[in-house]
């Protein structure tokens, strides 16, 4: 994945030696990995999960898995790419476990098109937060993290078409909530 190798050297200058020590069970090296990737992992988790508590749990689960599995990391891809795939998978597992209601879809279905939406100009943070769990996860993984629809489909156990339609619907909603709709 583009940019993840650059992220490695940016986040952890001496990644190779840290990984070698971590594989040998050196706790200080494992902590170095945690300190290097804690921020981006939490950011990814928080953008996908509804609450800070869930995101922090995902952070913890991710690094527990990293510590357990560092011996299986093959260095074929970037270290950040590997850590990120664990984090994304843990965050999506958390969504499935919590089974949050897709609130924006519920509102749209029950109330029809919300007339106030065009007048209600949210900021992007609020609009992103208002998306359903699934839609927000797809938007973040695709548009920000750069995952393909095939990869997202694999992580979510869904089809690429599902990922594409979630993304399109999410952008329609974001456009409306951000007041970007223009009469054609």
């Amino acid at each position: 994945m583009n940019g993840t190798r650059v992220m490695d050297s940016y986040l952890l200058a001496n990644a190779e030696s840290v990984v070698a020590r971590a594989r040998d069970g050196d706790e200080a090296a494992l902590e170095e990995l945690y300190r290097a990737f804690e921020g981006p992992v939490y950011n990814l988790a928080r953008r996908i999960c509804r609450t800070t508590e869930d995101a922090e749990d995902v952070l913890q689960e991710t690094f527990f898995e990293v510590c357990r599995s560092i011996g299986r990391y093959r260095e074929e891809g970037s270290l950040w790419g590997w850590v990120r795939s664990i984090a994304a998978s843990k965050a999506l597992m958390r969504l499935r476990r919590n089974k949050y209601r897709d609130t924006d879809e519920l509102q749209d279905e029950v109330m029809g098109h919300r007339r106030e939406d065009t007048a209600l100009r949210m900021d992007l943070e609020a609009a992103l937060e208002r998306l359903s769990e699934t839609a927000r996860a797809v938007v973040w993984l695709h548009d920000v993290e750069g995952y393909t629809h095939d990869e997202i489909a694999g992580m979510m156990s869904r089809t690429p078409s599902f990922s594409k339609s979630q993304l399109a619907r999410a952008h329609q909603r974001l456009r409306r909530w951000l007041g970007e709709e223009v009469e054609a």
Binding site: R68, H171, A184
Partner: protein, 199 residues
């Protein structure tokens, strides 16, 4: 005039083109409304990428480290037990097959004693429930160092089990003795600390 759907606009941003994208691209070039929509989409994605990075409010490393240590400890007990069983089985086999008198050689006796001592120390250690206790930073560091070294000895024991008998016994004896020494020190760390604070 039918404008491009959001899905079609998004598809034009993808690296691999799909059937129908050529026609969509043609429409985009000819339609100012769709070009504006495409540009807004581009801007929205750029703004998403530029959202500030969120940081955790709490440090979760202590919890991760505690779980890693607990798992290592459990693994050590499992591995120690399995290696012990394997070594005991191979010694017993040596006795049955190699010597009709059923006598253990001196080296084998010493390995058996070291294994028994190691198991006794593991039992003593488990009675202190070290994973539930709070240690000061220096003591925790010493305990961690000892646990790391025991884990390394366990890995070496697994390898030594595969060696030919002659070199295996000497290697096993050295490693089991080292394991006993390290466990002894680890028990000391926990017991001393527990006595000091009256736990």
């Amino acid at each position: 005039m039918t404008h491009l759907s959001m899905e079609a606009l998004l598809s034009l941003r993808e690296a691999g083109r799909e059937p129908g994208d050529a026609a969509a691209q043609e429409h985009l070039e000819a339609c100012p409304a769709c070009r504006a929509e495409h540009e807004r989409l581009h801007q929205r994605v750029a703004r998403l990428k530029a959202l500030p990075a969120l940081r955790p409010t709490r440090d979760r490393w202590p919890q991760v480290a505690a779980r890693v240590r607990a798992e290592r400890r459990a693994r050590r007990l499992r591995v120690g037990g399995l290696i012990g069983l394997a070594a005991a089985a191979s010694i017993a086999l040596g006795v049955l097959v190699g010597r009709p008198g059923g006598q253990l050689r001196v080296g084998e006796q010493e390995i058996s004693q070291a294994m028994a001592r190691s198991q006794a120390l593991e039992r003593a250690l488990s009675q202190y429930h070290p994973e539930d206790r709070v240690l000061d930073g220096r003591t925790a560091g010493i305990a961690q160092e000892l646990e790391d070294r025991i884990a390394r000895v366990d890995r070496e024991l697994e390898v030594a089990e595969m060696l030919e008998r002659q070199s295996r016994d000497a290697q096993l004896l050295r490693l089991w003795r080292e394991r006993v020494g390290l466990l002894d020190a680890l028990v000391d760390v926990h017991v001393t600390r527990a006595s000091n604070v009256g736990l």
